[in-house]
Subunit: 192 residues, 4 copies
Amino acid sequence: MPKTEEQCKQMREDMRSRILERSSIYFARNGFGDTKISDLAKHIGIGQGTIYMYFKSKEDLFEEIRKSADNKDEVKKLKLLGKLPLPARVKIEKISEEMEKRLRDDEEFVVKITILTQLLLEKEDDIYSDELYKELANIIKQGQKEGSVVKDDPLYLADIYWGNVYLCALKKLFVKKHHTLTAETLNRLLMV
Amino acid sequence: MPKTEEQCKQMREDMRSRILERSSIYFARNGFGDTKISDLAKHIGIGQGTIYMYFKSKEDLFEEIRKSADNKDEVKKLKLLGKLPLPARVKIEKISEEMEKRLRDDEEFVVKITILTQLLLEKEDDIYSDELYKELANIIKQGQKEGSVVKDDPLYLADIYWGNVYLCALKKLFVKKHHTLTAETLNRLLMV
Amino acid sequence: MPKTEEQCKQMREDMRSRILERSSIYFARNGFGDTKISDLAKHIGIGQGTIYMYFKSKEDLFEEIRKSADNKDEVKKLKLLGKLPLPARVKIEKISEEMEKRLRDDEEFVVKITILTQLLLEKEDDIYSDELYKELANIIKQGQKEGSVVKDDPLYLADIYWGNVYLCALKKLFVKKHHTLTAETLNRLLMV
Amino acid sequence: MPKTEEQCKQMREDMRSRILERSSIYFARNGFGDTKISDLAKHIGIGQGTIYMYFKSKEDLFEEIRKSADNKDEVKKLKLLGKLPLPARVKIEKISEEMEKRLRDDEEFVVKITILTQLLLEKEDDIYSDELYKELANIIKQGQKEGSVVKDDPLYLADIYWGNVYLCALKKLFVKKHHTLTAETLNRLLMV
DNA sequence: AATGAATGAGTGTTCATTCAT
DNA sequence: TATGAATGAACACTCATTCAT
């Protein structure tokens, strides 16, 4: 075998990533029950059996997708931004601009948002305990003190904000022609 | 004959409605593939076979639910409201109030909105050709002329508006504790 | 209730006979597995439940039909004829004539023959142990001694004979236009 | 690719043939309704699912069995024989001898005859329009002119002849111990 | 390692049987 | 007594998973 140990490992890692990435959009669109392994394999362009070389089961693959779609990075960014000595208005504008850009250009982000939100909905209980909601709520509170953000329950406002980001992601996944969410709209959700 | 013709027909109609109504929540929450006929029957409180006395197949039941969730009534109402000699601001406030109320109290409406929107998303092409979007866009145009509604593509604004109604319906179906959408929030989506 | 005990009993007996008679043709044509109780009831012109007031189960009804289709009468007749001081040729001609007549005119007989033969076939083992075969074989033996019947295994010849009667009955049940079996043909099966 | 295209196609064809062949006996014996897919699969020695890789449904498999049991070959042979410059007596003797041999040795033929005849019976209308009946009737006509075949409706005689072949096939399928039809008996059905 | 034909557990559907009327 | 809507056990069918190649 001409391949080195290293190359071999790399190839395995590449295939695993490819399956995860291409599966996630499928699961995000169709849900778990309506996604057939045979269709998935065809969509990825590999044999059905190959999936089982990288994942124990359909359930396992789904779990890995959920795990890989964590929002730790986003939460970290938001925390950092929250601590900066800036007016809330600016912070919110920055977030909205990034959202607009990523929703427009970054398909991986679109899929991630969709999966994350669907996970959140399936938790059935307190949607507001999510870190992302809490961090945005903090910035909102700051804005309310500064008079730039509307008076209302900060968590409720955060929910509305992220909900609209999710909605846009959903439309990206399903509908061809549609007007992408603008930073302006996002800002208006929160600010006077 | 143990029952009159009339009673018999009525009972059949009642059972059919009951199946449709109680199934719709299940399908709206879990989608087609994750909904088992056995669970459905248990949830409705009837035998599995009974479903097949009223619907040819699981697929057929799903289709009937989709058909029964049409938005003709809502479109009609919106058309009437659109023609009234009122400022757009008042019209929009009326719509928002009704949405707040029905999202809060009318579970059938919540399910209907969910199914309708999912159907819309699955159409894959032009989401904006829907009557509901068009009618609201007309009122938005009026508002823009009157200076009460923000300057932006009316169909895009209508999309944002209905999207938030859908989001609230989704949360109603999935999450126990959450802050219901307020008329105030809906108004702020459109008005300056 | 104006009906006497006697009348009531008579009515039950009538209904039972009606079900047996009308079911037998259905089972003879379609077999057990391809006969649905719902179709059967419709064919008889009664409700499904009514069948279960007279028979424990579909299996039981089928059994009763089988029992009612016994060949004791035929065997008795054949035995009597066998003992008469007549040439075998005459005996066989008499049998053939009766078969021709009954196959032509007596639908109950047609159904009975069909069911009896199918029962015989399902026994899987020795078809030749049936009384009807044995009795005819005796007459055949007599004929062979007298030189009027062809030389061959009497049970085999009896089998051929009854087989042709069965075939004719089958065609009666299934095919509209067909040439009924003649006594002449039956005679030729056995006699020189 | 673990197998060549050619090998793969061949294997699929083989499995399909195997299912068809082994199913046909089951259906011929039990009919459609009394044949369970689970039993069938066990009998063939494959998994239930495998059947559905080659046939859309139980009904489809049944149809394919019926289609595969055509009598074109037999008709062709009979047509050729009919045209030969031989006395009808010789022709009939040849047919009878072949029937005796194939009924004795060729199980596929036995099953085919059974299915073909059952199909013929289910047509409900004119049984005599079948090619096999017509071709034999032609030879019978020739025989009647030559004085070797009994005077009677040729199609009726052909019906009796094929009927006895069918009867023998039926007995082959159902009954273990029975006297196989002889060419001599078949000949006597037609010839003086 | 990759494949896809084969498998059988699990789900959809039918139909013999029950039972309220 | 007669009925046919309702039932669920049994059967048809699908699809996640395995495994020979």
